[in-house]
Amino acid sequence: MAKQEGLRNVKTKKPWRWWIGLLILGLLLSIPGWASQYTILVFTLFGLYLALAQMWNLLAGYTGLISLGQQIFIGVGAYTLAVMTLYFNWPIWLSILAGGVICAGLALLLSIPLFRMSGVYFAIGSWIVAETLMIWFSNWAYTKKGMGLFIKAAYTVSINQVYYASITMGVFSIALVYVLLKTKLGLALMAMRDDVGAAEGVGINSFMAKLWCFLIASFVTGITAGILYLNQVFVQPYSAFGIEWTVRLCFIVIIGGIGTIEGPIIGALIFVLLQQYLAEYASISLILLGSISVVVMLAFPKGLVGTIQDRLGFEMLSPRRS
């Protein structure tokens, strides 16, 4: 039913969608010009969580890789930034980029054991890798063990710079997933999601398709983590490699709608606003996050965006080819 509506939708392509997109983009870019510092900070977080969630969604929603170990790349990205700027005096933005490259390299290495596992085992395996890294970094004298590192260089960038960097990552992640799904790789992914056996039967190499997604997601997550830690200033193993990161991403994607491009956008907005309003009541806000995701999962398993799409047959960013 939903599919037919989607097809009908493709025929009546509406150019005004692009105008809405541009309007929102323009609004986001103008924020430092008129908004308060607090608003800028909130939207900085929005851009960063959007990028992180979009990458988790690429894995969980399109590739079937439920990673409970995204904090691997958040931690490694953050530590790369800290080590490169502190010990090697590299420029900040180059260090952040290096974080992404190292994360992609690490992902390639991790794919050797992790890609032998599937489903739940992959989820658990990725989490155990993150826990292993957490213990490794908390015992490693080079990175000051559990004390963590102080990213001094973070004070040389302005709030606006961090804001623009985060919005760039947010918008880039949307564009990346959108373009990716339009390519041959995206077609392969959607074919695999519907039926792995049939997809492999027509010659799709599902291993390579998954590997590409894993590498791309870890690269973008690593870079985003670098920008995130320009905000946090202090990197410490227990928080950088904590499962809390994946909890947040999971919440964002589930609320918004798993397997949709718009889902993480709505989810990230809701998450960041909730977090701000409930900042003083940390444990209550987490109880609320947990309850909301359980209720959404029971009542609207497709999330807000998925449910709306089903009801109205409307998609802002359709990965389907016309």
Binding site: I128, S283, L286, I287, L298
Partner: protein, 291 residues
């Protein structure tokens, strides 16, 4: 060389405790084909239930099982029946995420009620030990844990082998449709299985509480240990659970002995990743089950 026996003995005894920690997760993984990500937090919840019971009634932790076992059974039954059963069958993600949500709710509710302080269940056994030689001794609390762990796994093995309910649970797990034709309500069976798994969580919670300290966020740490036991032993295999517990316990304490105490957990994780990569179905698991 003499003192390598001490970590070895402790590792074996710790393995028994780990078997109790992992057996509930293994059961649910094997029977319902679901990973209960809240299992660790439910164990810690029962530790807190016992802490409260001991405080109010003034009884010792072992007696407080009388309260904790039925409470945890009811809780497990309810969670499975009214929440988790409703998201089964729609792929692997929904139950995973719902259990994840429950885990967050539990942790933070405990934090609100009990504060982040480390707690423990006090018993007079915790300082006693039996000297074997001049340098090697058996800590009594570990020995009690080992006995409880092995006992729990053995009773479950017997239960699944020789009772009607146990066989019905296995039937529902092997072929849900066929079991339904035979008049078994698989939804209720799953709820009962979760109830039993939560009773093992109560026992595990007691062992954790009496042997170590716990605080509201300890759950995930024991969840990972439970995963380790399940991964090494294979899902749903009771003997495997025991073997998994022993291997993990010994690996951890040997790691700590040879590399330093900071690396105790690391040694366990490395073993896990190796087993996962080489034999993802576990050392004792059947190939192709519980994907």
């Amino acid at each position: 060389m003499q003192d390598v026996f001490q970590p070895l003995i402790n590792g074996i005894l710790l393995g028994g405790i780990y078997a109790a920690v992992g057996v509930g997760l293994s059961m649910i993984f094997g029977i319902v084909r679901m990973v209960n990500l809240a299992h660790g937090d439910l164990m810690i919840l029962s530790s807190y239930i016992m802490l409260a019971t001991c405080g109010i009634l003034g009884i010792n932790p072992y007696t407080s099982l009388i309260v904790a076992l039925p409470v945890m059974f009811g809780l497990g039954y309810g969670i499975q029946k009214y929440i988790l059963n409703r998201v089964l069958g729609a792929g692997m993600e929904p139950p995973l995420i719902v259990a994840f949500g429950l885990s967050i709710i539990l942790q933070n509710t405990l934090l609100l009620i009990f504060s982040p302080d480390a707690r423990s269940l006090q018993t007079s056994l915790s300082i006693k030990s039996i000297d074997l030689t001049q340098t090697v001794s058996i800590p009594v609390i570990y020995l009690v844990g080992f006995v409880f762990g092995v006992g729990t796994v053995s009773i479950l093995q017997l239960f699944f082998r020789s009772t009607f309910l146990g066989r019905a649970i296995r039937a529902a797990s092997d072929d849900e449709m066929a079991a339904q034709y035979m008049g078994i309500n698989t939804q209720t069976i799953f709820a009962v299985a979760m109830g039993i798994a939560m009773m093992t969580a109560a026992i595990a919670g007691m062992l954790i509480g009496t042997t170590f300290t716990f605080f509201p966020h300890t759950g995930p740490q024991y969840l990972i240990i439970a995963f380790g036991v399940v991964i090494i032993g294979g899902a749903g295999s009771m003997i495997g659970t025991l073997a998994g517990g022993l291997i993990l316990g010994i690996a951890q304490l040997m790691g700590a002995y040879f590399l330093g105490s900071g690396y105790q957990l690391l040694a366990g994780y490395v073993i896990l990743i190796i087993v996962l990569a080489i034999r993802p179905q576990g050392l004792f698991g059947k190939a192709g089950r519980a994907a």
